[in-house]
Amino acid sequence: MAERVDVCIVGSGFGGAISAYRLAELYQAAGVSPSIMVLERGRRHKHTDFRQSTDIEHLSKTYGLVQGQGAQVVIGDGVGGGSNLYLAASLRSPSETFERRDRRPGDGPERRMWPSQITRATLNPYYRRVELALRVQRPSWKQVAKSGGLWAATLAHAGHTCDRVPLAIDLNRCIQAKWCHTGCIYAAKNSVITNYLASAEQLGVQVRPSSQVELITRSTATPYRYVVNVSEIDNDSANPTRQPTGTTTQIECKVLILAAGAMGSTPLLMRSRTTMPSVSDQVGKHLGVNGDHMAAIEYDERKVRDLLGLPGFGQFYKGNHITTMSYDFWTSKPGNANDGKRFTLQEIYLSPLAHTLYDDARAPAGEPSFYGLQKKQALSTFNNHIEILAMVEDTHDGEFIAPPPFGSHVRPNAGPVGVGTFNYQLSDQSIAVREAADAAIRSIAERRGLGKFMKLSMRHVFCAHPLGGCRMADSKDYGVVDHRNEVFDNAGLFCIDSSAIPTSLGVNPSLTISAVSERAVAQLIDRAADYGLPAKPAGFTPGVPGVALGPHTTPVRRLDDAAVDAKVRSYS
């Protein structure tokens, strides 16, 4: 006998948490106890569980690194999803994004790639809603990291502008340790586990960790519409396998929201198409990477002083991960004629490990560039590097071949690395716009010998921002969900997450995924009674989720850095 709820949400990242909280608000306003369940395949994290460490055990509990054919994709794992690991840059996507008409060859006729109802203007109220919930604030120049400041000065030196990046970080609580990427130990970073999801649980939403949805079928018990088969995952035993334990359950619901992300919702819906053939045959196609394209710069510290007038650098390890970016290569290319040619350039700190990805910049003839002696020399200058994330207007070039038998990707062991069943092959446009971004970075970085450009050296696309696979469109011929994120011809089934995003965004995607999610759930609430949920009461207004840190430690920042800086220098 299946367990019954009104709303079942698969996944607990941005899309799932926003859906849970907003629907819980509806139930509260209607005076009804929420009948909402969130299923999450990973374990539950408190922020006090996080560590400033990239040891393999910690990574195994929080990250997934999915290796497909042609691309490596980083995903979050656990309650809170990617929000635990994101770097908190919270930016509205430029208007041009939503008007784009460029696409991968063979991807249908020329058309607007986003549904006609979605523009930057229609999303603005929802962007605002998310900015309030995630407490987005723009750092002052006194709060910009040295690495971000160095990028700003480098751009200015080359005649470009550079803007400070709004962050979903409590800057009063933040200790500027540059350890967002393994989960903030103080919850200064606004992950959904301290706002949307925590508030949803306070309102009565059930969150069930270690629950992996394997299949969706239709329910025949009106008003219930869908049944999901759930495997219990071994996440919390003494030696967790992170595989299904063999215990299975079923959940039956009126509304089913897939919010497991591009790498999770997509294979689930593909697998379920065998029982629901009315799902568009576009499912699994048009997987994107948000145009992510990395590079790095190795600075000559003497030139930093002489040319930029800064007191040196050598402190890549301090401050927020992302604080500055330039829009100059976006605004110089207005109009649809330039679709597919724009990009932004953002200073970012991924982790020291990311420096594996870059050419050593020394280019000795015949020598390898990403390993060996030259590479070792380049790693030794790490503290005079910065990383640049170009977010380019590429096409969505990936496609799932077939879903794995269970789960979203094949996990050969309990570690973070798995195998994805997708192909990723960059289109000519995707390559050309990346080459343009490389040329721009090189030109800026190497002006008057300021630094050396370090080109991405791996064969694969490396991506922390998977998008699409169940993209939204005006028609079932070109997409899987409509502008409300509802699966075409499958009432009550939604994809409210990154899987619905049809193009790269030019900025870090979390705010846009969240804004589209806010819009989708608002549209769902408008029609809630049609789905058998409590009707939207007159005067219903969405609020702002409170901040719930839970048990926490009060951060104490060191008063001066002399000791640690001296120690770092002593090894250099």
Partner: protein, 236 residues
């Protein structure tokens, strides 16, 4: 657990004694281990018969003085080729380093000291499943360069890596997986929970403090460094 010598900055900056001859090498290997690991390599007699060094090694082995076995020594040498380091005898975790593993072409610690071997064998990585096939190909390609991988000089080790990592190599993904491990050990300190610059040689080389529960006070240049294009940080 033996203590390793630390890098400069926290005390000693010394040269390490490295066994120089076959007798020294022999003391560190047991015949049983060599035979066992040679079988694991999956290329059996072909490689052994083709290795001029094999008889020399076997003839000088003193039983029960084993340290790092041959396959592990080769993995350490592979790690040292990806991220080369100084000669050393112990890793950060206190594990022994095979005397032939490190070519010694760089003056600072490399991936071997950062416990790449431990990470190769970590079940959360799963490289053990790839190890036999990988080492078989490493040794086969090494033969073309004149001998066992451990016996090659650094330049020839690099040539073996270049051949394995060539896009045209059908098994390039195995080599890329092998490359990822030393980088994760060295740059992410993947074997050291809560690693700090005091204990992690990779962090010492790159100059990363590691854990920083009190963060930093002087993290900003504290002044405007560029003209800005937007009012709120994003475009309209």
């Amino acid at each position: 657990m033996p203590r390793k010598q630390r890098r400069k900055g926290v005390g000693v900056d010394q040269d390490f004694d490295v066994p120089g001859g076959s007798a020294d090498l022999g003391r560190l290997l047991s015949r049983r281990q060599i035979l066992q690991r040679a079988t694991v390599l999956g290329v059996g007699g072909l490689i052994l018969s083709a290795l001029p060094a094999a008889d020399r090694i076997l003839a000088t082995v003193a039983p029960s003085e084993a340290a790092v076995n041959l396959a592990d020594a080769t993995l350490q040498a592979v790690a040292d080729t990806f991220i080369p380091g100084r000669q050393a005898t112990l890793t950060d975790l206190g594990h022994e380093i095979h005397p032939l593993a490190i070519a010694g072409v760089h003056h600072e610690p490399g991936a071997v000291e950062a416990d790449a071997l431990a990470l190769f064998h970590d079940p959360l990585i799963g490289f053990d499943a790839l190890e036999p096939a990988f080492l078989a190909e490493v040794e086969t390609r090494s033969l073309l360069r004149g001998g066992q991988f451990l016996d090659l000089d650094f330049a020839n080790r690099i040539e073996v890596m270049k051949a394995g990592l060539a896009a045209a190599n059908p098994s390039v993904v195995v080599w890329e997986a092998a490359a990822a491990v030393p980088f994760a050990a060295f740059m992410a300190e993947a074997t050291l929970p809560n690693a700090s610059i005091d204990t992690a040689s990779g962090y010492q080389v790159i100059g990363h403090p590691g854990v920083a529960p009190n963060g930093y006070a002087e993290y900003s240049y504290r002044r405007k460094l560029s003209r800005e294009r937007t009012l709120f940080g994003y475009l309209g």
